[in-house]
Point group: C2
Chain length 319, copies 2
């Protein structure tokens, strides 16, 4: 067990916008057996903010905080205790002397979602366990019913229920609002490092390529997103690490996403940045799923990321 | 600044139930510019779980963990940094040697809400800033536009936006599911103390009165709820502290809720429990709102609660 000696912890909200509702009808609502209430939906609200929980270790080996950005359909709980009960990456980075800011982006987790009519288009979508199984590359879709994972799978398959309980609804149309909130976050905290997963990895790369003055290093775990803006600002040597797990070749969607991510790394390099690929299978870490931060052996991946941060000059020696 | 030396931190999910969706039509959905996707809503999901984040200090002055239960329309972020940037009660209790489990109950925060059709009745309701202003007793509703608080108000009124950004939607019909998840939580962690606010205070008292074998002490901050079951189990001396702030007499709703809470404390006493009222105004702490954990001077209220926990034998001497 690693003790965590913290200098500070807390949370803040950032970004979003106020909206005003008018012309709605008030009605009686029972909020509990003891509280019936005249509910008037008219008034002022905030929507599209992000929630950020931060932890600062007493012994820091870098002045740059690390922002952890979850993937789609997930929240900041991604980085906490793994489904099988081991410490997550939040714990690993703190123990290594890095201050960590964990995001719940717009609509997810403690950021809250917008329930005001007319603001967000359509209904939220949800992720079934079968979709997680296939999309997170735990196993082939046809093997979901019998829960037969890919051979050598590192995801803790017997604890799949815990991942399912951490999956939350999402609106496909809130991508721009999520981008804006992350930009507001980085403008608030100043020079920092970003680590994003999946949709969050795409956001991390977009934001880092737009604001290399603030984002000093970026780690993208199997990112997807709109990489078209990479190159619009010179990247001045800024380092990017693209991390990918195993079983990519088994799924047409992932072959496509992996190819797009590699093109984005090339674009990063052409824009004057310094991109590196970390394909875990080629570094002796076989069997990793899309949910690599929850996999058995996840701490070894965190250690490789910390080693890379040291190599690119973002960590001091210590320990 | 108080340093926090933690032995452990992490999170878990608890309670809820699996549901299966069948017979829905799949459709194409774009999850990002890079990922268009065949979205199939059929399959297995978990709903109605609670999310719990826990922190264990290295130096503990009690073996009983303290469970913090937020109020309606709020999440576990209630107990973190105050709107004006001071450490919250989570910080205070950890620094005092208490292990803390912070709940995001069913539908709130990282617990996720149920977006499956046919499971939850109706639409979520939202809390406007004006409603917060009046219901949290920051000031009279008629003084909201000019933001003129009650005289001597301790809530950090100039930081009201932060509270508004931490307010999240709720379904009035999920009360039973929230109760079930809290029961599952207490059955999982074993003997413990509960501290609940508002709706969460009502849940804490209900749960404590049903399971005095597990709940060893209860603090209810201006609770409301269904107190009718108090007395169905002998309470065997179990201690309860009801905490209330100021300005209760200014609002008809709060006069009623306060009277109901006092009756519930009487019922607790008659059932063999040991109930005590802490009216902050009568202890020299005037001007507290319903959001007393965010008020200026909130740390003094936490200290009174800790003193009470020591008096009822739930804390060892130390420090």
């Amino acid at each position: 067990m690693t003790l965590l000696n913290l200098a500070a912890m807390g949370s803040y909200t950032v970004g979003g916008r106020p909206v005003t509702v008018e012309g709605e009808t008030a009605r009686r609502v029972a909020l509990s057996a003891g509280l019936e209430f005249e509910y008037d939906p008219n008034g002022r609200y905030w929507i599209e903010q992000a929630y950020v929980q931060f932890f600062v270790p007493q012994q820091r080996l870098t002045d740059l905080p690390l922002v952890l950005i979850h993937g789609g359909g997930l929240t900041g709980s991604t980085w906490e205790t793994t489904p099988d009960g081991r410490p997550g990456w939040l714990h690993e980075f703190l123990a290594a002397g890095v201050a960590v800011h964990v995001v719940d982006n717009v609509e997810r987790g403690r950021a809250g979602f917008c329930a005001l009519e007319g603001e967000w288009e359509g209904m939220p979508i949800v992720r079934s366990e079968r979709e997680s199984w296939a999309l997170y590359r735990i196993g082939d879709a046809s093997d979901y019913e019998l829960r037969i994972p890919y051979p050598g799978q590192c995801f803790p398959v017997t604890c799949l229920d815990d991942l399912t309980r951490r999956t939350v609804p999402r609106w496909p149309g809130t991508v721009h609002a999520q981008r804006r909130a992350l930009l507001a976050l980085v403008e608030r905290i100043g020079p920092c490092m970003l680590l994003g997963h999946s949709q969050g990895g795409g956001f991390a790369m977009e934001l880092a390529s737009a604001r290399p003055d603030l984002v000093r290093a970026t780690i993208a775990l199997e990112p997807h997103g709109d990489f078209s803006s990479i190159g619009s600002v010179p990247l001045d040597g800024r380092p990017l690490l693209g991390v990918s797990g195993d079983f990519l070749e088994r799924d047409a969607l992932w072959r496509d996403l992996d190819a797009k991510a590699q093109h984005a790394l090339d674009a990063w390099q052409r824009a004057g940045g310094s991109a590196r690929e970390l394909r875990l299978g080629e570094r002796g870490l076989a069997g990793h799923s899309h949910m690599m931060m929850m996999d058995s052996g996840s701490e070894r991946i965190a250690a490789l990321i910390l080693e890379w941060l040291a190599n690119v000059g973002c960590m001091r020696k210590g320990g």
